[in-house]
């Protein structure tokens, strides 16, 4: 990323006064230092990346790998099928994230509530989070995907797409509930005290004072989870859902060429990298805001 120190903008100040000779000297020196830094960074990048590339290209198996993994003509042939599969992943991600949002918020509110009537639910929510955070997602997908149809309950769906989505929602809700809960707990008790002293009930305090601040604070980790969710939707392919991963699998098993996997990976990256960069920006902004509040 960028240099940590803020870039100096000398142009804006020029109109306010004429820089002293000493300042002009410093500006020249600063530019020289910057040039040197850029030169070092470029040289080191070229050296490291070049060494890596030559290591790969000169390896004994490179010719074979190039043909089986990077056969671009075959890649463009299967691109359509894999893109179609990726649409499934994206749709699944959108639907799942909405359901996860609702379910996770419910879990987080239950775990942080102190109401006597909700005691059994608080206990259940805690147990739920413990269990689903502790089981690998792949196992949950297999258990739900193969277990639920085996029950043969009338009216219950056998669609692998729906069952796969349900499994993802169940697991991710546990993660997201914990993120939300940590956000709720991070709000200083004095905020709650101020709201309660105004006569707001505990649920009004939660709704109008605690939650808006808590959710804002956990947006960066939630975006992180969204990226992870998109990738993990690829796991439902194990049930036979024709998503990008499954489409790539089908295409490569037909010809024993692995280029479709590389294509699928690139397609995922096309979505996840911008999303990750956006997350970084949101995070940087929120850190800046918190620091500003701390100094006030």
């Amino acid at each position: 990323m960028n240099n940590a120190s803020p870039t100096r903008d000398d142009s804006g100040r020029a109109s306010l006064w004429t820089p002293s000779p000493r300042e002009v000297q410093r500006q020249v020196a600063r530019k020289a230092i910057n040039r040197k830094k850029i030169l070092i960074a470029t040289t080191s990048s070229v050296l490291v990346l070049g060494a890596l590339a030559s290591l790969i290209v000169t390896s004994p198996g490179w010719q074979v790998v190039k043909e089986t993994f990077f056969d671009w003509s075959y890649g463009s042939e299967v691109l359509g099928a894999i893109s179609k599969g990726l649409v499934v992943n994206v749709r699944l991600t959108i639907i799942a994230s909405i359901l996860i949002g609702i379910f996770a918020m419910t879990l987080a509110l239950l775990r942080t509530s102190r109401s006597a009537a909700l005691t059994p639910f608080r206990f259940l929510a805690t147990a739920y989070v413990d269990i689903f955070r502790g089981i690998p997602l792949l196992l949950v997908i297999l258990l739900i995907g193969f277990g639920v149809p085996a029950l043969r309950i009338d009216g219950l769906t056998n669609s692998v797409l729906i069952l796969g989505t349900a499994a993802v929602v169940l697991t991710y809700s546990a993660y997201v509930a914990e993120v939300l809960r940590s956000g709720i707990l991070s709000i200083h008790p004095s905020q709650r005290a101020a709201a309660r002293s105004l006569g707001l009930t505990s649920s009004q305090t939660m709704r109008h004072v605690v939650l808006p601040q808590a959710v804002k604070r956990v947006v960066p980790p939630l975006l992180n989870d969204l990226v992870a969710l998109l990738k993990d939707t690829g796991l439902v392919s194990i049930l036979g859902v024709t998503d990008a991963v499954r489409a790539a699998q089908i295409a490569s098993s037909r010809t024993f060429n692995y280029t479709p996997y590389v294509i699928a990976a690139i397609l995922f990256l096309l979505i996840t990298i911008p999303l990750t960069r956006y997350t970084d920006r949101v995070l940087a902004k929120s850190i800046k805001r918190q620091n500003a509040q701390g100094s006030a």
Partner: protein, 247 residues
């Protein structure tokens, strides 16, 4: 008529007795000022009256009704009390106007337009009308604390509790905050305030109570407790305040 009556109040944190058999009476339209070193129990007393802290013995009456009863509706009690904190505690995600109208709209079910009109009237009165749409972090400490006071009186409380409201302020900002309190006192608002500002205490107090180790050591009009303290502990405390240049 007494707004507040505290009888034989005891409060402990673990093994430490913070309030020790403390009794206090606040008649309507009067100001009671609590003075004493940090840790003497001033803030805890205010928090107990507001039911933010539970009490361990004794009883508290508000307008003759016991509010220390376990079955009491705490939300309903707090609706009749205003509280201002040392650290302002404005809601950072809301504009100044929304901070002030939150309780009137949500708790007292006043129509939104009316609540906003009333809030604007208060803001204008205290020279803050131009800050109505700003967020708290754009305001100076003194402005934030004035907004916090307005927020607490917007619900027309029976009794105002002010907990060292100027202690985290720049000395030059203290006066703009205290002048609001002086105004409210003139209007007849009953209040209990914990403060280190002895000059201010002398101006507004109908009664001054000096606290030490959770007990009221000396009480009476400011002319007595602050100007001519009888008790050795009070003299010692005021001497130290004087040396710190706050008298």
């Amino acid at each position: 008529m007494n707004v507040l009556e505290v009888k034989n109040l005891r409060k402990c944190f673990d093994e430490h007795l913070v309030l020790d058999d403390l009794s206090l009476t606040v008649p309507d339209h009067t100001a009671t000022v609590l003075i004493g070193a940090s840790g003497s129990g001033k803030s805890t007393l205010l928090r107990c009256v507001n039911l933010l802290d539970s009490i361990d013995d004794g009883s508290i009456f508000l307008d003759g009704r016991e509010i220390s009863d376990p079955g009491i509706d705490v939300d309903e009690v707090r609706r009749t009390l205003g509280m201002v904190f040392q650290s302002f505690n404005l809601f950072p995600h809301m504009s100044v106007l929304d901070n002030i109208t939150l309780a009137p709209i949500r708790v007292h079910k006043i129509a939104k337009t009316q609540a906003r009109d009333e809030a604007m009237t208060l803001l204008r009165r205290f020279d803050l009308a131009d800050k109505a749409d700003q967020f708290p972090d754009r305001l100076s400490g003194g402005q934030q604390q004035r907004v916090a006071i307005i927020r607490s009186i917007a619900v027309k409380p029976r009794l105002l509790l002010l907990d060292e409201i100027t202690s985290s302020l720049d000395p030059v900002l203290v006066n703009e905050v205290l002048s609001i309190v002086r105004d409210l006192k003139t209007e007849g608002m009953a209040m209990v305030l914990a403060t280190h500002e002895m000059g201010f205490a002398t101006q507004v107090a109908d009664e001054v109570c000096f606290l030490k180790n959770g007990k009221i050591i000396e009480r009476g009009p400011a002319s007595q407790v602050i100007s001519a303290p009888q008790h050795l502990d009070t003299q010692d405390f005021l001497q130290r305040v004087h040396e710190a240049g706050r008298l």
